[in-house]
Amino acid sequence: MGAALAGELDAQGHDVSVIDIDSDAFQRLPSNFGGLAIRGNGTNQDTQKRAGVEKADVFVSVTAGDNRNVVAAQIAKHIFMVPKIVSRIYDPIRNEMYKDLGLETMSPTILGAIALKELILDTPVTSR
């Protein structure tokens, strides 16, 4: 998801930096990606600095781990004062809690459930 998002934002002319612990992940970026690709742990302050967090307008954390995402986001928000933070949190309960704690969050679990429900209920079903 990170690579697709970074590609989209880069194509729209924004300055984008991508952090990943595994440099293989950068192969998923579009070939014409013009931003920075930083290999490192996104929950490290030094790595965030290398990616330019101190002048970032938006910080997005979309690793596969909920806990890693909220830690990286909270460091960006409270240490580096990034104005807008968005995190992906699969677990709906943690999602609610971190919303209450001031993070902007997106839960694919909830969004997926809603989309599935719409597919089930909003299209006519032929009764047997």
Partner: protein
């Protein structure tokens, strides 16, 4: 007291055993079934298999009546989230997180973790103290303040050897609290106390003044 320990690795295991010896009610949460079986065998029914970052797991284990939650897993992010869930969902009054990356101390405490223990820093300090000529060692952060206790060994060529304390200008707000002299033992601090080669100086200082203090006490 009822204490929940998240993480049944080496640190969690020994912590649980020691808390049980002190007659506390203890429950350990561990994800790995093999670790769970081992701990159950060694320590009895004080272990529950599950994810200590999940509110549902903590609720089942009675986190609402826990006095303390200690997050002692090997991952800093899991430890922070376990403490945050305990605090915000269950009002656990005291949360303690083990951290590996020392720079996480500030952010964890800012986010409501009551205390952090940095295994990396503890080990570093212990190793540094065993070095023949050690620089400045951070011993302990003073709770609730932006001050820490540090230890500096006065090298033989330091400019402050044979100097009275009253003549040494320390960083603003910092203070020498104790001097240990190998021959004379612990020295009480007075204005006319004289620093000598190989003295171990214990001082209170702001972390950002560490380097300044080190230079004052060790520069030739």
């Amino acid at each position: 007291m009822y204490i929940i320990v998240v993480g049944g690795g080496e640190v969690g295991f020994h912590l649980v055993r020691s808390l049980l010896q002190n007659d506390h009610e203890v429950l350990c949460i561990e994800k790995d079934p093999e670790r769970c079986a081992l701990i159950a065998e060694e320590l009895g029914s004080v272990i529950s298999r599950g994810d200590g970052c999940e509110a549902a797991t903590l609720e089942k284990l009675g986190a609402g009546r826990a006095d303390i939650l200690v997050a002692a897993t090997g991952e800093d992010e899991d430890n922070l989230v376990a403490c945050q869930v305990a605090k915000h969902k269950f009002n656990v009054s005291r949360t303690i997180a083990r951290i590996h990356n020392p720079e996480n101390k500030v952010i964890f405490e800012l986010l409501g973790v009551d205390a952090t223990v940095s295994s990396t820093e503890v080990i570093l300090a212990q190793i540094e103290q065993e070095m023949p000529a050690h620089p400045l060692i951070s011993l302990q952060r003073l709770k609730g303040s932006n001050l820490e206790l540090v230890n500096v060994e006065i090298p033989p060529n330091s400019r402050v050897v044979n100097t009275q304390l009253s003549e040494i200008e320390l960083p603003t707000g910092s203070m020498i609290v104790l001097i240990y002299d190998r021959d004379r033992g612990i020295q009480l601090i007075e204005d006319n106390t004289v620093l000598q080669e190989a003295d171990e100086v214990v001082a209170v200082v702001r972390p950002d003044q560490e380097e300044e203090l080190r230079q004052i006490l060790t520069n030739p």
